[in-house]
Symmetry: C2
Subunit: 208 residues, 2 copies
DNA sequence: ATTGGTATCAGCCAAAAGGTGGAGGGACCA
DNA sequence: TGGTCCCTCCACCTTTTGGCTGATACCAAT
């Protein structure tokens, strides 16, 4: 009975069935459930009690991946969560690891890499795609540049072109607080205007 | 022998196997080949002579999806190409259709939608996801969205985070003129702030 | 010759953004 | 317990943007 049970969380049907097909080729790994949203993931995690949860961060509507990770960690801390996503945004990596992710794979990872991550996760090993790892490493080296979770969140919304007022509404904070966060973000990114911050953020990877 | 042969082009292994698994459930559809890049796609298209090519636009390295479509259309014009991608960037849609795509599906499309698109494509029908269709329609309605050379120049500098004053200096024009151009750009892009314009411009491709 | 598009410039005004400095509460850790 | 982040908020002030209205000039096509 040493089959590793896996729960897949992704809003794309094709990605789910792709992973299922891929993981199905491994005798020691079995997909026990699927979920298309953060909410569904919470339910499914309790129902199936999987060993590993493979989760996309970007979920169309409702709860986002980071929030889902946080809640999962609270409710069922024994389950290992591996982030499996397309983009390797700086902020996402930090936030995901912070929220309690065990691994971080990009969707173009080789099948072997995925298998290794799943097997490693149950043993408490943390596996990540090479580009992700290097980025995370870079961030740890100059901690001045790391945005706090809240700042990252703000920056991400910033790249959608929102005004300070809208940012405040979206995050349920005052415009004053938005300005404070922005000032910190500018300082950390080494820019002076929101325009430059957006340009930096989007080009600096990921954030598309 | 009325099975529709399909070639899958996507740099993500999981997406390919997902599509394969999904399409495999349909008796009248068969996957005859896979490719992970534009170059591979050209080869595979000649080798397998598929009826339909399902292709992701965003391919990691090498030739991008749009270029691949163009070349495929030249070499094997009988094959129907369906774009199957995650992001519904305005520019991508227009460029893909322009390059000769028969359909445009988003990756979160329902399986039925995908089947319908494949079947429709061999009959010369063009199928697209609802959000894509509406966006395309919008674009056709205002062809005014084309920026003049000067405006494009300005927009490009804008994405570097310059202020109006700096833009003026850089282009040897007054700040007033900069503002005029910007107003025109905003109108054409359908945004109200420079922040949104930058976000749109950078994501809208090319400008990275 | 008139029209249309592009590029250039002005002035005025309201709104938004950015800079400065300060402040309190909560979490975490030594 | 004290220090250190992080998040939250406020007031005041300057600079920057954006919206509006209008103008001149060049060029090309009708």
């Amino acid at each position: 009975m040493n089959s590793i049970s896996v729960l897949l969380v992704d809003d794309h049907t094709v990605v789910r069935s792709g992973l299922k097909a891929l993981l199905g080729t491994q005798a020691d790994i079995g997909v026990v459930g699927e979920a298309a949203s953060g909410e569904e993931a919470l339910e499914a995690a309790q129902q199936h009690a999987p060993d590993v949860i493979l989760m996309d961060l970007a979920m169309g509507a409702g709860m986002d991946g980071i929030e889902a990770i946080k809640q999962l960690r609270q409710r069922t801390p024994k389950q290992a969560i591996i982030v499996f996503t397309t983009y390797d945004s700086d902020a996402d990596i930090v936030r995901a690891v912070d929220a309690g992710a065990m691994g971080y794979l990009l969707k173009d990872a080789a099948p072997e890499e995925i298998f290794a991550a799943v097997r490693g996760a149950v043993q408490g090993k943390s596996v990540m795609s090479a580009p992700v790892a290097s980025r995370l490493f870079q961030q740890l080296r100059n901690p001045d540049e790391i945005l706090t979770p809240r700042e990252a969140e703000l920056l991400s919304l910033l790249t959608e072109g929102l005004s300070n007022r809208d940012l405040g509404k979206r995050l349920f904070i005052s415009e004053a607080t938005v300005k404070t966060h922005l000032a910190h973000i500018y300082a950390k990114l080494g820019v002076e205007t929101r325009a430059a911050a957006i340009a930096t953020a989007i080009r600096r990877e990921g954030m598309r």
